[in-house]
């Protein structure tokens, strides 16, 4: 079957249907703009995408966009449209025109279509990048721009999930899939996309969707397709067949389990001194992951050859995503650890939809591992040398998404069942800091400190590999790299840093006996990232993880000190979370300051919630930078 598939993909005869240079523009019928779009800069009257699967391993995509300019800003934005072409896929058609309010049509002449390119030679090949600029002359508010272009790929786009939402709202959004290949085209329309036309015009199997009044989809750091987005997944598969988990399992076996030359893996590990008899098999597996993380060199997937045995790669001490799973599975097979294979997709790319087998959804592979008590544990692959995940650590891109678990033996799939990837809770992801500051007098430049920081859950992942130093700086723990004094062997992998030293510029004198105490330097500047306040607000956003942080700062003086503030508690909370600071006079010599960040909502479902996140961030800034009045 595998050989057959390769033949189908690469040896079929070529008959490519081209859009050609004589593209026939769809008829223009003036239409009124609904009130809800009247205050925006531009709107798609038509946003149409047609994907053709040709006879010989080629795919073409025709994009037709009809844009109505509604404001001066829109005119400036859209007067120059740019397309980009890379090594993969070439643009074979590019035309544009302007329809004036009078009905006059002005074709964009070649001099207004500027092509520039950039090539770079590398040892592994050439990178190619072409920019095509459409420059619309004499563009005015009220004009309609028509742009059409065709991308051609010399291979099949075997599977995609396509959203109808785009960079502008669309009065009409269309998607057409036409299959002229020898393969079978299966589609899976989701949400509100079940109303479609399926026909076989001129013997070309075609699926077509037409949606009206489709909202805009924005893109920024935390953005993700909203659950109610209009989307369609498709697969190209063998004629007369539908891609099932059975045949995908077969494919997976070939990739990870079959004939990869791993024999006597235990012996190899013993030779490396990695296995100790008193450990349970699962503990041995955890040790193996650490060993690989610390001692193996990361290589690209392209550097993995099918002709090289996996044991040879292991001996060379190299790893990538594929090799990682081969090592893990080889170990578990030999040590009779029960496991299943699972798949999910990045939550930022949308929800995994159960009930449909689609390559595009099987984005992230993981292992569901059973311990001796039958409890399930999750193991995800690293995505780079700095992002190894340990047992039961679920990457935040997968948390809470649906997935599929495939259970079978070395030949066949036995069961496939839907799963929901667990979500970590607020208490699993913590940064707890205890900071003791000791002074003899508040009149001082340098303050002795003892500090202990504990990171758990997702925080712990952020400190892997080369990321440790930057994470320590980012979370205001230390300017330089410090080693953890303690790290927990099991989830949530507590990571504990302890330090002693001196801080400067935490106190300054206001007047005779009155001082400002400034804990700002001791606290992280943002909730997740430093510059997150400048992020664009999106309609639908997914925060990395929910969490609860607590920072306790003790200011201890050998001479009496007094907290002078009338307001001792500062709080800002909203539907996303809470930020808080509290100052407490513990005794004559000690004042305690407690700072808290609690994130209660991870999925932000609308603009209002996103604005609430921005306000929470500003609230944290206002609290963190508070200077407390104390006296001596």
């Amino acid at each position: 079957m595998k050989t057959t598939l390769l033949t189908i993909l690469f040896l079929l005869p070529l008959t490519l249907l081209k859009a050609g240079d004589d593209y026939k523009w769809p008829e223009y019928i003036p239409m009124s703009i609904p009130d809800q779009y009247k205050n925006i800069d531009a709107v798609y009257l038509e946003n149409s995408r047609t994907i053709d699967f040709h006879q010989m391993n080629q795919t073409s995509e025709i994009y037709f966009k009809r844009i109505k300019i509604l404001s001066k800003k829109g005119m400036e934005t859209f007067s120059k449209r740019e397309l980009y072409q890379f090594n993969d896929g070439i643009i074979t058609l590019k035309q544009a025109r302007v329809i004036k309010p009078s009905g006059e049509i002005v074709e964009l002449e070649k001099e207004h279509i500027i092509e520039t390119l950039q090539e770079e030679k590398y040892s592994y090949g050439t990178s190619y990048f072409k920019r095509i600029q459409f420059i619309f002359p004499n563009l005015e508010v009220g004009d309609v721009i028509d742009v059409v272009y065709q991308m051609r790929y010399d291979h099949y786009l075997l599977s995609q999930t396509i959203y109808m939402e785009s960079d502008l709202p669309a009065l009409n959004a269309r998607l057409t899939l036409r299959n002229m290949s020898m393969l079978e085209l299966n589609v899976f329309p989701m949400q509100n996309m079940t109303d479609f036309i399926s026909r076989s015009s001129d013997d070309i199997p075609t699926f077509a969707w037409h949606k009206t009044n489709v909202e805009q989809q924005t893109e920024s750091f935390f953005s993700a397709p909203a659950p109610n987005s209009s989307k369609v997944s498709y697969n190209l598969w063998y004629r007369g067949e539908i891609l099932t988990y059975d045949n995908y399992y077969e494919f997976d076996l070939m990739q990870y389990r079959e004939s990869k030359g791993i024999i006597g893996f235990n012996k190899l590990l013993q030779k490396e001194g990695l296995l100790q008899d008193e450990q349970t098999p699962l503990n041995k597996l955890i040790r193996l992951i650490w060993h690989i993380e610390q001692h193996f060199e990361w290589i690209s997937e392209a550097e993995t050859s099918a002709t090289v045995k996996t044991t040879d790669y292991f001996s060379r001490k190299v790893v990538n995503k594929t090799l990682f799973f081969r090592y893990m599975q080889a170990f578990m097979d030999e040590n009779k650890i029960d496991y299943n294979i699972g798949f999910t997709q990045d939550l930022d790319d949308g929800k995994f939809e159960p009930g449909y087998v689609s390559f595009s959804q099987l984005q992230h592979r993981f292992l569901e591992i059973k311990d001796l008590e039958g409890n399930a544990h999750y193991l995800f692959s690293p995505s780079s040398p700095n992002s190894f995940y340990y047992m039961d650590e679920i990457p935040f891109y997968a948390e809470g998404n649906n997935g599929i678990i495939l259970n079978g033996d070395k030949i066949n799939l036995t069961n496939a069942f839907n799963t929901v990837i667990p979500v970590s809770d607020q208490l699993s992801n913590k940064h707890t800091a205890n900071i003791l500051l000791k002074v003899n007098s508040l009149v001082t430049d340098s303050i002795a400190f003892k500090r202990s920081d504990l990171f758990t859950g997702h925080y712990s992942v952020l400190f892997r590999g080369d990321n440790r130093a930057s994470s320590l700086r980012h979370f205001a723990v230390a300017e330089e790299l410090v080693p953890p004094v303690d790290s927990l062997l099991y989830y949530p992998y507590d990571l504990n840093f302890k330090q002693e030293g001196h801080y400067k510029e935490l106190i300054n004198e206001i007047e005779d006996t009155l001082f400002w105490f400034k804990p700002e330097l001791l606290l992280p500047s943002g909730i997740y990232f430093e510059d997150e306040q400048n992020e664009e607000i999106t309609e639908f956003g997914i925060l990395p993880f929910i969490k609860s942080d607590k920072f306790s700062v003790y200011l201890e003086s050998s001479t009496p000190i007094n907290l002078r503030e009338t307001t001792k508690t500062l709080v800002y909370n909203n539907e996303i979370g809470l930020v808080k600071a509290e100052a407490i006079q513990i005794n004559d010599h000690t004042i305690k300051f407690i700072y808290e960040i609690k994130l209660t909502k991870r999925i932000l479902e609308n603009k209002i919630q996103n604005e609430a996140l921005q306000q929470l961030l500003q609230g944290w800034f206002n609290i963190r930078t508070k200077k407390w009045a104390v006296s001596q």
Partner: protein, 564 residues
Amino acid sequence: MPLPLFNLPNQFLLSLATAILIALFPVETYAEDLFMIQSEHTEITVLSMDSYFWQHEISGQNQTADDYRMTISIPETAELESISLEVTINGKTKKVQRDQFLTKSTVDWSAFFTGEQKYRVLIPMKCTFQLKYHTTNQHTIFLSRFFKHGFFDAKYATTRVHLPENLQITTQLNKIYSGDDMVFDSLDFAQSKETLYFIVHPKGTTPEGYFSNWFSEKIEPLSVPDLQLVSANMETLSESTDRTELAKACFSYVQQNIRYVDIENGIHAIVPRASKMTMANKYGDCKDMAIVLYGLLKHYQFETYLSVSRTFMKKDTFDFPSIGMANHMIVSLKLNNEWYFLDPTEDECRFGDPSIQILGTEVFQIGNTGSYFHSVPSQPRFTPEANLTYRFSKNAAGTIDLKIFLYTKGKLNQNFIYFKQQQENHEKDLRDYLNHLFPNKPTLDNYIISDTSSNLELTMQLPPNSCNQIGSNFYIDLNQLPDIQKLSLFLSGMETPRFNSNYTITLQGITGPNIAPEEAITYNNTLPGMITINYTITEESAKIDSKPNLFWKKLCSKPLKFIP
């Protein structure tokens, strides 16, 4: 089996980001002893004023463990006839196939014109190499500069020039060279200069005269405007005696109707497109916009000159007619016996003010035989000003409110003019913009934006980090207000503004501590509950450690007592 394109959008974005990064930050810095150009030899054979050959030989070594990418630039109008690369690795010398080392890049990511097309040459790791290329070129006007150490900072660089009998080279140092075989080396350069600017011109002509005529011949036929496309108002103004209003209308027409789009290819690298075409298209680059304005002013019989110019990005003083010293084109207008330097590419620029990018630079006025070179004033005609008043007061809830009054004028008003020009929905954009200065989102109570000045009023409740309440007393922490540097950056849009601006900051409702004012800062705390600070921001004083900013920091170092 590879499964292609599962994640096309991600791949697309990654490739785009990579391509942009490669374009913006080519990694080409190595220790000198590891990558070195030993010698560069350039041979230029001029056939006539309109054509010449260029041969370039570069020898060097790449002893790094990485491939190295060299960029070679040739003029826009040149053709690369041949190029060869010979490398010696481990004692073995071989010729590299052209398709294995050469790529072309026509993507220009900068808005500034270079007049060059770029090729990228891949030099393998651990080799010595010899690169040779040969171009045929049009227009000797593109022959404009020699580099003391060649294009690649070579240890040894020479340039040999062959000129026909009727032509000569004049350099920026006023030296004249002629003959069939001339060699230029470091001795021909001014002592501290790395670049020697020159021009090839016929014997019996002056460099300035030739340069001016070269442009004039090409430009004059292109400068006739399409008067059907200008507003009737302009025709009416042309009949009035107010010449300033007419010139202003011409400037405004180009500024508001022609969009700046930087498309500069072939000879259009330095010569504008026809004025009528630009007016019909309603877009163009700096030259296209300038020639439309020049054509209109000329039509209305102003004394005006299309002017080759430089922006402040070009560091050498433009005092010699070489296109290598220029990168911009504007219009010079003599009105009421005064020079106006008009750059319509700056959308918000007020008529009469030079654009920010040409302040303090020079222009070459094409056709002004009396005096080709002129200096653009280093300061705007209309002095930029900003007055910012903070008024602290107690509200009904017993906490402190802050009222902010902002007045801007001249170039400090340009950001606000931008919002006014947007016409639709600009209020939301204006609020978002103001939030960069005052992130606690004050309410925008009132605003008036005009072409000459703006007034804005905002109100906010003081956030907890801005106030200490001790008993019934309030102390205000000014650290949460924008400092001098941030304010300057916000209003001028530049980290180091290229013009001087006068600022006044008034704080009402707090006591003024006694601080010795710094030089060039006026500080007044004599009135109870009132502090006034006056200072001037210059290119130097906009920096974070400048005197005004350090003075502000000093003022903020302690909280100030609130006076109800």
